[in-house]
Subunit: 612 residues, 2 copies
């Protein structure tokens, strides 16, 4: 061993002990005849003091930043203590030292506030990983990993490894494929998730399965997507939705406690997908703050359960006389607390914000509900004060609030209002970094309508069960859509999934469902998705086969591990929580991968390039 | 939840409790008006008793093997108890039941001694996994996984995930590659091991790293190889060989205790590679038994350290007069304890055994050292009794032993003797299933000579350091081999690696090394392997770069997780310990993978087939 102690463990009570430390030179400070060196390792920083005799040696072999140094000496109480670090009471009076390895000058400083840009840090990721900020992230990631395993082990779950070289069955996302040398012309696929395998394990009787496992999706990468990502993947047999919700709120609460020291004792709130869309305009609402959507007007075919509630809207009577609202499919308001005194400039800026192409709205209507109870709006021409008051009341506004109204096509308007709400929540400091609010979103639609193919697509995935009460609806009806214009009237349009998402502070951290376990129902699902019987057998014959031999009721969930860590770590970026991430083109710039391969390799794999 | 208890937990003290169980029908036995059903789940088997009223219902909806059944009733003491199962004291008086899913008749019986052949069981792996024998294996695997993580966590190791989509740098085994859609003409590779990443993590200061991780090798599969396999992968910084050996004997001992309940308190034996080859003819000897090799004659260029020992050989004087021995490069004897009374037939059978093509020897010489001290051999014509006695003594034989002698070319003869030793060890019951003997093999040669390229190849891998005392030899000499015939005189031929293998009962379960951490030495290594500077930079530029910025001394080890589990589970086959293994052609016969993919997929990946 090159050391007797780490750079993080020596304290005052070690005074007088002979120790050997090894680590990296963080700083070198010369004061006349003596030199101070801060030596750093994974565990901390310890100050080394080189006295006069050694200084001559240091002159011969000068130390530089990031040199690897081994030093032996006595622990000694410091005269000027450093209260900022745990070893700040002591220093090492160095008696001998050895440079274990030199270092070139690093391309950026190894500090929390580094001077390295993103590209440079990625290229020299092995240096970036030395920075405390990155180290803390990886430590947090390991703590989440460990807490997850401990909880699930305690609950009787078994970690069972599923294969990585599987069969390509692209449903939504593209598969990464792997040419097989031994089977020319054939390919393996890398798993997008172990979905079918964990279901097979349920059929096999392993009633509590989990894995922390890499998954792969060949998608066009958005800012915060990685082609390979990690999932906490779980499945249980003989359970209903309620059992899953309880088990996995337990997991997340355990992680909060183990990793953040937070006792999450509150009941985890639950809402339906429809309610979330109605109240927040999004299926993963941030419920740390209110500012709920006031649905002044929505098209008749949506929110079928809300027809009664809509009657309370001041717009329920019909045309308002204001063309923008009357011509819009949807009109939604939010009441921004305490913002009635926003200046013209601030409101103009918000208007510009909703007009940005990412949001894409035409404009923003505002009503100031002044502290004195008076109302003033940008559409005073069309609405009297009583009407404005009615809108304010419907939006739940209090005197002092600012009411913002968006109007346009249903989907875009709802999304825009949701984003405006989040933006204002951020600006008003309502999205507190140290507050964590969990939410279950339930009862998603089982299907979405695919206009292009005039068919259904699975909203979650093709293995999700409908609500138990709707199984007969699904089996008893032909999935084909006769009349594209009236697809909403098809019995399948109203089928809800036995599915659930877990949302944390406005991020979907996990999702899952109770699965189909009956062959007939699974076949119906494949048919609904436009798969022929042959195609279904070719792709999923093993699963349909398994359902013939005593498949138990089962369900599960998967958490996005990278995302969960980044939220717990208070960061927007999952890349900060991955040791060796890829950039937005899917490249590892440190390795310079992907790269070309030899013709011999191509030849052995019975493939050739086909570049356009 | 579909159940209140599992099928493994009810005992006599539960009598009178109302319970609901769910599981699979193992057996149905009708006795007149009552029916017994054995219900099985992951946790055990519980007997259900269906009384007269329910029997009518059972007649309407008969239960078959592997049906999924939910049954509610009262726990009751059995009249005839079954001592073989933990729940054997009780049964459930069923009050109501529900068939949760039917089952077709399984293609083989779900029993320890199943009637299913290998192919059938692989095709229906989800049913095979229901068998107790397979379940026990996966449970053992999980126990090893858990024990490994607990030990390493306790020792301060961090689980850090390394990427799966990396760069192809084939050195030895072929890489599996993954075409990149976003980077046409370029490929990722799947890692053969996280070797370079774990070294980079050491450079980054994460001084104790581990992972239980999938690795991939596109090799022609032998009986017990899998294209994807799992490794316990570990690395430490600021350590020397001794630290690694101590740390990881600790791991294996911890696993023994946690998984098998075995206190492995003995000192783990150590030997050098040369000693192992000399004494056992193999670098992974099974030391549960002796029967060591007696080297009567070896060629001069091998075992340079054994020249003195060889002088004690009865053949040291020169020609023996027996042409087979005198013409052979190598002559090795083993003394088989208590086998002097082997019949002619038994000896003929052993002779046939060594003549099989897999062993490939010409014949087998035997000397019977009879219990009365007399000696009788198959070569009496050439050797007098005194000479035979000298051979017997040299082989460490006792009266009653049978001495077997093989002669031929060094490598083949040594290997054959080693295999003969193992075979006899097995036949004599010396390789006990419940005995575990660990051994460290140290000081491997750093290089092997590659005749074809007249160059060196790395015996372990190109990142392994030479012994500290030989670093100067390596740096100070030109790796090129001027005279192929005299390659053994090259200074590199004698360089030993700072490497170690852990052997358990004759199986290599793990191996590793202290790594090179100096750029100059690493460059020398690449040069020795015949890599140009450009090639080295293209393939491993990131690692050479990392060594510029303060790389610490480090080393590590990797254990073959599948193999370790199979040995602990007492099985020859690693497939029995993998949930979804592939067959010897690399196929998953359950999925029917690999498989062809769509032209659209090929096109998007900018590749096309090139079938011969």
């Amino acid at each position: 061993m090159y050391r007797s102690h780490t750079c993080g463990e020596l304290r005052l009570h070690h005074s007088g002990t002979s120790v050997t430390l090894a680590g990296w030179v963080q700083t070198v400070r010369k004061f006349g005849a003596i030199t101070f060196v801060d030596l750093r390792d994974r565990y901390g920083i310890t100050q080394l003091l080189f006295g006069e005799e050694l200084n001559a040696q240091l002159d011969e072999t000068p130390l530089g930043r990031e040199f690897v140094l081994q030093a032996t000496g006595k622990v000694s109480e410091r005269t000027s203590k450093n209260g900022n670090i745990p070893t700040g009471d002591i220093e090492i009076l160095v008696e001998s030292f050895k440079i274990l390895n030199k270092s070139a000058v690093p391309p950026f400083t190894i500090q929390d506030d580094t001077d390295g840009g993103d590209d440079l840090r990625m290229k020299y990721r092995y240096l970036d990983l030395r920075r405390n900020a990155v180290k803390r992230n990886l430590e947090l990631r390991y703590a989440v990993n460990r807490a997850t395993r401990n909880y699930l082990h305690g609950q009787g779950f078994m970690d069972i490894e599923t294969p990585f070289l599987i069969k390509s069955t692209p449903e939504g996302a593209r598969d990464f494929v792997v040419p097989s040398r031994m089977n020319p012309g054939e390919f393996y696929a890398l798993p997008q998730s172990p979905q079918t395998f964990k279901q097979l394990l349920m059929v096999s009787g392993y009633d509590r399965y989990y894995q922390i496992v890499k998954c792969f999706r060949d998608e066009d990468l958005r800012a915060d997507r990685q082609p390979e990502f990690t999932q906490i993947d779980c499945e249980m047999a003989f359970v209903e939705q309620e059992d899953i919700l309880n088990m996995f709120e337990g997991l997340i609460k355990h992680i909060f406690k183990a990793v953040k020291g937070i006792d999450y004792t509150e009941v985890v709130e639950r809402t339906t997908w429809e309610e979330a869309m109605w109240q927040y305009g999004i299926d993963k609402p941030d419920i740390r703050f209110g500012m709920k959507l006031a649905n002044l007007k929505v098209p008749g075919h949506t929110f079928l359960d809300k027809q009664e509630a809509l009657k309370a809207s001041p717009f329920a009577g019909g045309a308002t006389g204001f063309g923008v609202f009357d011509g819009a499919e949807t009109v939604i308001a939010i009441a921004v607390p305490g913002a009635a005194e926003y200046t013209r400039k601030q409101i103009d800026e918000l208007t510009d914000w909703v007009k940005r192409p990412q949001i894409g709205m035409q404009g923003l209507v505002n009503i100031k509900y002044n502290a004195d109870g008076s109302l003033k709006s940008s559409v005073d021409k069309f609405f009297g004060e009583a009407q404005l008051k009615a809108i304010a009341d419907y939006a739940g506004a209090q005197p002092g609030d600012l009411i913002l109204i968006l109007a346009g096509a249903e989907e875009r308007t709802r999304k825009a209002t949701s984003e405006l709400r989040l933006e204002l929540g951020k600006r008003l400091g309502l999205r507190k970094a140290d507050e964590f609010k969990l939410l279950w979103v339930l009862d998603f639609p089982l299907f979405e309508y695919d206009e292009e193919g005039n068919r259904w697509v699975a909203r979650h995935h093709p293995f999700t069960s409908p609500k138990p009460s709707q199984i007969d609806t699904m089996i008893g009806n032909d999935p084909r859509i006769e009349n594209a214009a009236e697809y909403l009237k098809h019995p399948y349009a109203g089928i809800k999934a036995n599915a659930y998402d877990m949302v944390l502070n406005g991020n979907e951290i996990g999702g899952g469902s109770i699965r189909i376990f009956q062959r007939e129902l699974q076949e119906k699902m494949f048919a609904a998705l436009g798969m022929s019987e042959e195609e279904a057998m070719h792709k999923f014959g093993f699963l349909l086969g398994a359902f013939e031999y005593g498949a138990p009721p089962h369900g599960g969930i998967a958490f996005g591990f990278d995302r969960l860590c980044s939220i717990l770590g208070g960061s927007e970026s999952i890349r900060d929580f991955i040791a060796f991430p890829k950039n937005n083109s899917g490249r590892d710039v440190m390795l310079d991968a992907p790269a070309t391969i030899d013709d011999k390799q191509l030849d052995e794999l019975s493939i050739q390039l086909n570049l356009k």
